[in-house]
């Protein structure tokens, strides 16, 4: 059976109903915290399953962010500790682990999650307990009023931002666009983003195919996609699904007929299928190590990561782990400790530049306003070395205009 996060029997709400019952058992008065106590950050992430490669990079970078703070003496003299938990890409598992982190391990805040459904499950638990949660999963819904709370922060890009940036680089008026979309929240949100962008540009939608999450074979979708005769094929899925879908599209000769575009082009998946398959594929990204030629913070982040990881370079999703934990720790520094209200206040006011230029959390929905990259996968002969994967087509600096407005998300303005 596929290890998917989409077990249909247990929805996040029923899982949580069960959990709140077990929470009653676990709940006990919190012990008074000594001032010199370690600061504990919970970090649920899918270490097993199809997103394992991305998750592992997140952990490495989160650990780096913690190490850098500890090397400078911690926060107000207190050491920081990262508690990594495997959420197995399953909403129920993530909710249980998060609850344990809060009730048993007494974490002061939670950062993490990779899948859009899983982050919502984590968010429900943290929101109910009044614990700060910095999500590093790509999703729109967490910013909407119904899922939002003052404890919820979203460090990652969202589908609206990436699809708009990618569409601007690849679509033109009158172009025909087809979509291959993973049939779960992430895919649906990306599709919505692309359709909105293509409508604004004036490109035509010629068809969309939803594929089951975690599918290994995409060959059965290819004849129909090709019969739609689009100019651009948008493949909106994640992790190994992205690698497999692009590889099989290329096998079917799709690239001879149309351009392949993805909302988020994944460093690890490009490595997993090689340069020939990804050649010419365009996609959005939060981070690429090649930014170091454009900015000091990227160079510093790369150098720190290399030093801690035997010369390896940080990846896109890794950078989320770093900036997610890093921004939280910076706010704790400002707040002088772990008092939740003070840290929330500090996060709202925080201006940070950890990996790629200035970022801040928007007041109404706590979405991180940040730059969006558009990358194109390089041809093998154009690669200067094994790490030289992408060319940077665009680096759109962050602005509120990139985001859906606060009122559209349901927030009072």
């Amino acid at each position: 059976m596929p290890k998917s996060g989409s077990t249909p029997k247990i929805t996040r709400r029923t899982a949580l109903a069960g959990l709140s019952a077990s929470a009653a058992l676990l709940a006990m008065p919190r012990l008074g915290r000594a001032a010199d106590e370690t600061i504990r950050i919970g970090f649920p992430t899918p270490l097993t399953g199809p997103f394992a490669a991305e998750a592992r990079d997140q952990v490495k970078c989160a650990e780096l962010a913690v190490k850098l703070v500890n090397d400078k003496g911690g926060i107000g003299g207190r050491k920081v500790e990262l508690l990594v938990r495997d959420d197995k890409l399953n909403a129920g598992e993530a909710a249980t682990r998060t609850l344990e982190l809060i009730e048993k391990d007494k974490v002061h805040a939670v950062v993490g999650a990779l899948s859009s459904a899983v982050q919502l499950a984590v968010n429900e638990v943290t929101r109910a307990r009044g614990v700060i949660y910095v999500s590093i999963s790509q999703s729109d819904t967490i910013n909407e009023a119904k899922d939002f709370s003052k404890y919820t922060f979203h460090e990652a890009l969202n589908p609206h931002m990436t699809t708009a940036a990618v569409a601007r680089q690849t679509l033109k008026k009158g172009m025909k666009v087809a979509h291959l979309v993973a049939d779960y929240a992430y895919g649906h949100e990306m599709l919505r983003g692309f359709k909105r962008a293509q409508a604004a540009i004036g490109a035509d939608n010629v068809g969309e195919i939803l594929h089951p999450f975690g599918a290994a074979d995409y060959s059965t979708f290819m004849p129909r996609l090709m019969s739609m005769r689009p100019d651009v094929l948008c493949i909106s899925n994640f992790g190994r699904d992205q690698a497999n879908a692009i590889k099989q599209a290329v096998d079917f000769g799709v690239k001879q007929q149309m351009k392949i575009v993805v909302p988020v082009i994944l460093h690890n998946q490009r490595l997993a299928v090689g340069p020939d398959v990804f050649e010419g594929v365009v996609g959005g990204a939060n981070y690429y190590w090649g930014l170091e030629t454009q900015g000091k913070s990227a160079a510093a982040f790369n150098a720190a990561f290399k030093a801690a990881n035997g010369g390896a370079i940080p990846t896109d999703y890794g950078a989320y782990g770093y900036s997610g934990v890093g921004s939280l720790l910076a706010a704790m520094q400002t707040a002088g400790g772990t008092d939740t209200d003070k840290v929330v206040d500090a996060l709202e006011k925080l201006q940070y530049d950890l990996t790629k230029g200035p970022q801040h959390y928007r007041k109404c929905d706590h979405q991180s306003v940040q730059s969006v990259l558009v990358l194109e996968s390089k041809k093998k002969s154009a690669m200067a070395n094994d790490n030289d994967l992408f060319a940077i087509l665009a680096n759109d600096s962050g602005s509120d205009d990139m985001l859906r407005s606060c009122s559209e998300l349901g927030h009072a303005t």
């Binding site: 089951p212 074979d217 004849p223 079917f252």
Partner: protein, 291 residues
């Protein structure tokens, strides 16, 4: 609906079914002859893909990988039979099931430790890159090759089982091992060879699937589920059943993908449920068989 589109879709289904047939065949042969439900079959499929990739990069040719990986992993399978499975014959069916289940975890974790949990690219052999114009549309050369190779393997396997003395012994051994022993045949050697063959077929499926998917430690888990569905539909232990059901599942997935793509994975389980309701022993299974 365009006729050429339906033909292309059928062909995709057959190519998909071909890999299913090869993996399900190994599972069903081992169950039919040995009564062992091999839960490590998916993991051995994955090991086959890694072995094929490793041997291909070592020798510089995909073809050596394709030839040697099934032999090598088949031999590894024989070692598993000799050291582990053999001790459990005559005990309840759960014992080898649990053993192979545990084994699959060890194999997957072992590969994670040695090769890492990221996927590794498995390049398509240069002779088979690209598409072939079939008149009704373009189809990847590699997938056509897979269909052809699986057909050849099936014919060879059928000839070996039906037309040779060894095949006769194997079939008789499956029917009544005690009589075989009375007749002076070393049934242990037959079982060893059968288990090796089953594992070798899993590895062959893995090598064939490699260039179509990226190679990663978890690639076997989905395949195991699919192979089980195919063997249940075809009838546990039936070789003809595995072939018919494999193609049936492949083609159903493909045709459903045309009309309701999001249902493409569900359809094989729906098919299994329907078959189980109408013919609980599977299409070609024997009623009441417990091996």
């Amino acid at each position: 609906m365009d006729l050429s589109l339906i033909i292309m879709q059928l062909l995709s289904g057959i190519a998909l079914g071909a890999v299913l047939v090869i993996t399900a065949l190994g599972l069903t042969i081992v169950f039919g002859m040995l009564g062992v439900v091999n839960f490590a079959h998916g993991a051995l499929f994955m090991i086959g893909a890694y072995a094929g990739l490793y041997l291909a990069s070592l020798t510089g040719s995909f073809w050596w990988g394709l030839l040697l990986a099934p032999i090598l992993i088949g031999a590894f399978g024989m070692l598993i039979e000799l050291v582990l499975i053999r001790r459990l014959y005559g005990r309840s069916i759960d014992d080898p099931l649990l053993l192979t289940f545990g084994l699959s975890y060890i194999l997957v974790e072992g590969v994670r430790i040695v090769f890492g949990s990221d996927g590794i690219p498995f390049p398509t052999p240069p002779q088979l890159i690209g598409v072939l114009d079939l008149g009704v549309g373009f189809f990847p050369r590699y997938r056509l090759f897979v269909i052809g190779l699986v057909a050849v393997v099936l014919v060879v396997l059928w000839l070996a089982l039906e037309k040779t003395r060894i095949g006769l012994i194997v079939r008789a051994g499956a029917r009544d091992p005690t009589i075989m022993q009375v007749l002076g045949i070393d049934i242990g050697r037959v079982w060893l060879a059968i288990f090796g063959l089953g594992v070798g077929l899993a590895a062959l499926g893995g090598v064939l699937a490699g260039p179509m998917r990226s190679v990663n430690p978890e690639m076997g888990s989905l395949v195991l589920a699919e192979a089980f569905v195919v063997t249940v539909i075809g009838g546990l232990g039936s070789i003809v059943g595995a072939v018919v059901a494999g193609l049936m599942v492949g083609i159903s997935i493909s045709l459903v993908a045309l009309f309701a793509p999001e249902m493409a994975t569900i359809v094989m389980f729906a098919l299994m449920a329907v078959v189980l309701l109408i013919r609980p022993q599977g299409l070609f299974g024997v009623r009441g068989r417990t091996a």
